[in-house]
Each structure stands twice: as structure tokens, then as C-alpha cells.
């Protein structure tokens, strides 16, 4: 079975004479997989997102989405398969009301009106925004706007949804609802997910994590494996989550946990079972 998306030795720079933003990047994403791409500012993670649906093109290398090579001719087909939620909630809201915004993507793809109505209904329900049908964007909070953006992407029925720092401009509450929505989407829809973030707390739900540093793939593995790289992560400018810090401190005191915890519950489970396991 072939991967959903494949990056083959991608080189990319924004302008002639500049340094490479991406240097020889290769990776793949499988069907129904949740991959988190992390890295600090300027590590090239957002560039990857824009390459995935043809907003940018690489200077060297080849990107494949299923059987399509991403280039000028295929971008419209690629964009049907790959949806994207951006960082700024305001600057991706095109319609004058919620329902118009969700309709925008469907209109672009020439979906007949009758089908639009059911698709809009379903996708707004999937993000719990069905009560805000006729709301204008300025009457919604940032988190609500992002949920509408997710609904707009889902309505087109893509096979991969990219979240390009979709929670970066939200307050903690909005952030939590968006992460919940993403998990809900993953459980109910048949889609692959790519979350791009610099917040390590958000990668715990992913199947696989790709850590970017200075335009290169620096590490690839499960969240648990990534968190074990505690000190190296800090060296490349990423803050590790609280639970990882706790387990590192315990380790330095000579208390080794059996399993690397990735969230609060796992940490607590490790702690209260520690004595009996010994």
C-alpha cells in the first residue's frame, strides 16, 4: 500500500539567494494517520503545510498526493483532497455569515445546491456550531471562528486536513475546544490529520511526530519517543510539557518510571503504581 502523501528529497527556498527553508526533506503520511509536525519559528514547518496543497512549489524534489504529483496542473485536484485550517481566525473567514463561509469552498468546487445544504448541515454539526448558522464573524469568538473554518474544510470532504498552527492565536479555552474538535473529527471521519505546532502539549494525541529543525527533519517517532529526547528538544528551542519535566526530575533523583508518561493521567498512574511494581 502506498502512502497518502509522500515528500521526496524536497528542497525549498522563498527567494533566490536566500538560504534553503527546507533542505532534503523526505517523509510520508499514511491514510488515516495523525502526524504532528513541530519545530520553533523558522524551522520550516509552515512551509511544509503550504507545499502539501500546492500553495508553494519546491525547487527540487517531488511531492505526491496519492497518485498525483503536485504541480500547477494538479493543484485543483490536490486541494480537493487536502484541506487546510490557518492560524488567523479572522483572515480565513470569507463569507458574511457562518453558513456562507462553509458554502464558499463548496461553491468553488461546483457542488450542486441541494447537496450543499446537507453537507453544510453535517459539517457544522461535526464541529458543534449548528446553532450559529446565521451569525456574522464579528459575533463569534476566535475559537468559534476556527471551528467554522474546520467545518468549511470538512464540508469539501477532504482526505487530509492540515492544521497550520490553528490554535496559536486562541486563548486556552479556545485551544482546548479546537483540540477536542480535532480528536472528534478523527474519530468520526475517515481523514488523515496533520497538526503543525510549536506547542509540545498538542502532539500527545498524534500517532507520529516529526520534529523539524533548521529546515531538516530532526527526529521522527511516536510522541513518547519524542518526549524522551527532553534535553535535545530544549536545545533546539522547544519547551517540553510539564509531565515530561516531572519525569526528568524524578529520573535525576534516581526514580525511574516504567513508561514515559505523555499526559497527566499517565503520570499519575505511573506514580501510584510505582511502589507496587517494584
Amino acid at each position: 500500500m502506498s502512502s497518502f502523501i509522500e515528500f521526496k528529497h524536497i528542497h525549498f527556498k522563498y527567494q533566490q539567494g536566500e538560504d534553503w527553508a527546507l533542505k532534503d526533506v523526505s517523509f510520508h503520511i499514511e491514510d488515516n494517520e495523525w502526524v504532528a509536525i513541530i519545530g520553533h519559528n523558522g524551522s520550516g514547518k509552515s512551509t511544509i503545510a503550504k507545499l502539501m496543497n500546492g500553495l508553494l512549489f519546491p525547487q527540487e524534489g517531488e511531492i505526491r498526493v496519492q497518485d498525483l504529483v503536485v504541480n500547477e496542473e494538479t493543484i485543483w485536484d490536490v486541494r480537493k483532497k487536502v484541506g487546510m485550517v490557518f492560524q488567523n481566525p479572522d483572515n480565513q473567514f470569507v463569507g458574511t455569515t457562518v453558513v456562507d463561509d462553509v458554502a464558499f469552498g463548496l461553491e468553488n468546487h461546483g457542488i450542486p445546491r441541494e447537496e450543499m445544504i446537507t453537507r453544510i448541515d453535517n459539517s457544522l454539526r461535526a464541529v458543534n456550531m449548528e446553532d450559529y448558522y446565521n451569525h456574522e464573524p464579528h459575533r463569534l469568538s476566535g475559537g468559534q471562528k476556527q471551528r467554522v473554518a474546520i467545518a468549511s474544510v470538512l464540508a469539501v470532504a477532504p482526505e487530509l486536513v492540515i492544521f497550520d498552527e490553528a490554535t496559536a492565536m486562541l486563548d486556552p479555552k479556545g485551544r482546548a475546544t479546537i483540540m477536542e474538535t480535532v480528536q472528534q473529527v478523527r474519530e468520526t471521519k475517515n481523514v488523515s490529520i496533520v497538526t503543525i505546532t510549536h506547542d509540545l502539549n498538542e502532539v500527545t494525541f498524534a500517532d507520529r511526530v516529526i520534529v523539524m529543525n533548521e529546515g531538516k527533519v530532526w527526529f521522527e517517532g511516536t510522541p513518547r519517543e519524542v518526549f524522551k529526547q527532553h534535553e535535545e528538544l530544549q536545545k533546539i528551542g522547544l519547551d517540553t510539557p510539564f509531565v515530561t519535566q516531572v519525569s526528568r526530575v524524578l529520573e535525576s533523583k534516581g526514580i525511574n518510571l516504567v513508561k514515559e508518561p505523555i499526559n497527566h493521567k499517565e503520570l499519575m498512574d505511573e506514580l501510584w503504581t510505582l511502589y507496587s511494581i517494584k
Binding site: R79, K80, M84, T96, V99, E107, G110, R113, P137, H138
Partner: protein, 265 residues
């Protein structure tokens, strides 16, 4: 800024006028604007005034609210009236104030122009009072559609209008934010000479423009990511359908038009 901020002056309601198709309203007003220049006696003006007042009452919007909306225009109406009194020299002299002689023709002409003005503004403001800006946009797009044949960018124009409408509140919020930020840095927008106050606007406008350009760029990228590829092959979610009520109002307006032409001299 309140949360219920509404673009334009639209007043929600469910009257017949509210429920009319925007195209019906635009067409009727378009013809009204032309027809009013054919009125030439008291009775024909009476017919038009009757039509305008009838429309006004059917909207069920408070009369005081409608009149309040006309406030800024009163000045122009009165100004043209006075100008006519002073300039036009037709008919006989009615009376004279100081050395100015007021002619009867001037009085009639002045009254006529003022009445025309008032009716025009009343009718057009009824359109914006009973129709949301977005459905006006839809109406305009649908009516301009035939022009596509001569490569007139109808879809682009409509999209431009709806995006501007969508971003008016956003940019207003932003203006407020920037003006507070600048005020906290000591920029004074409220006092001082005219020249100084105009100067104070510069630190408000520059950041606003910069951010508007940034927004435009990001919005364009988001639209592209969602598959926007110009008007070709696009379907429309908003749909305009003429109802029975539209036909009824059309016939009624046509009858008024016939009556109008009989009353002319």
C-alpha cells in the same frame, strides 16, 4: 462598539417589502427614479408621493426612524430650495425681501425640486432599510449577469462587494484597537486645531493600512487553499427566487405607472 452592530441601516422585519426579492425592489426603484423626472403637474406628483408613502407604511418601520435616516439630506433639500428662490426669475413677482425679488416660478420650481429630492431619497433609503447588504449584492449580481457575455467581471465585482461587507466590522474593531493603542502612547485625537487633528490621524491610518494589506494577503491564500479559482464552474449557495408576492407588486407598480401617465399633462 456594540455586539449588535449592523452594516448599513438595515432594520430586520417581516413585512411584504422585506420579503420581496431584492431584484424586484431594485427594478422598481430604478424605474421610480426615472419616472419622477416625467412628472409635470400636481396630480402626477401626488400619484408618485402616494406610491412612496404607501411603500413606506408597508415596511412597518417606525416613521420617526425613517425620517431620522433622512436627516443629513434635509440640508441639501432646503439649500436647493433657497437657491431656486434666489436664482430663478420666471413668472410674476410675489414679494421682495430687501432687494431680492421672489418670483412665483421660482417658488414652484423650488418646491418641485425639493419634492423630487425627498421622494428619491425616501425610496432609495427604503431599499437599504428593508434589504440586507448581502442580498442587495446578490440582487445586483443576478441583474448584471447578462453583462458576462461582454466579459464584464460580474462575479468578481459581487465577491469584492461581499468581502468588503464582511470586513467592515473587522476593520472597525481594528481601528478602535489601534486608536486606543495610540492614545495610550499620547496621541490626541479629540482636541487641538484642525491641522493637528488631521496629523493625529496618520499614526492611526498607517498601521490600519499595513494590517489590511496583510489580511488581504492571508485571505487570498486561504481562498486559494479552499479551491477558489475564479468564477468559472462555480455554483451558488444563495439563491434568489421570485415569489408570487413579487409578481403582485410588479403588477401593482405597473398599474400605478399607467395611472401616472394619465395624470400627466
Amino acid at each position: 462598539m456594540s455586539n449588535s452592530f449592523i452594516i448599513g441601516q438595515y432594520v430586520p422585519g417581516s413585512s411584504i417589502v422585506h420579503r420581496l426579492d431584492p431584484r424586484t425592489k431594485i427594478t422598481i426603484i430604478f424605474f421610480f427614479v426615472i419616472i419622477i423626472f416625467f412628472a409635470n403637474n400636481l396630480l402626477s406628483y401626488g400619484v408618485l408621493a402616494f406610491f412612496a408613502l404607501l411603500s413606506m407604511f408597508t415596511t412597518k418601520i417606525k416613521i420617526s426612524y425613517i425620517l431620522k435616516g433622512l436627516k443629513p439630506v434635509w440640508f441639501i433639500v432646503i439649500f436647493t430650495f433657497i437657491l431656486h428662490l434666489l436664482v430663478t426669475k420666471d413668472g410674476e413677482v410675489l414679494f421682495s425681501i430687501f432687494s431680492f425679488e421672489v418670483y412665483s416660478g421660482a417658488l414652484y420650481k423650488g418646491l418641485e425640486i425639493s419634492l423630487r429630492f425627498t421622494l428619491l431619497i425616501l425610496m432609495t433609503s427604503l431599499l437599504t432599510l428593508t434589504t440586507t447588504p448581502i442580498s442587495i449584492t446578490d440582487g445586483v449580481e443576478s441583474m448584471l449577469n447578462p453583462l458576462r457575455k461582454i466579459h464584464f467581471p460580474v462575479h468578481e465585482l459581487a465577491l469584492m462587494m461581499s468581502i468588503s461587507l464582511r470586513f467592515i466590522p473587522t476593520l472597525m474593531q481594528e481601528t478602535e484597537k489601534i486608536s486606543k493603542a495610540q492614545a495610550s502612547r499620547g496621541v490626541d485625537f479629540r482636541t487641538g486645531k484642525m491641522k493637528e487633528r488631521i496629523k493625529a490621524v496618520v499614526p492611526l491610518l498607517v498601521p490600519l493600512f499595513v494590517s489590511a494589506f496583510k489580511r488581504a494577503e492571508e485571505l487570498a491564500m486561504a481562498m486559494e487553499a479552499r479551491g477558489y479559482n475564479g468564477g468559472e464552474g462555480r455554483t451558488k449557495f444563495r439563491e434568489l427566487k421570485l415569489q408570487r408576492v413579487d409578481a403582485f407588486i410588479f403588477i401593482f407598480s405597473a398599474l400605478i405607472l399607467v395611472v401616472f401617465f394619465f395624470t400627466r399633462v
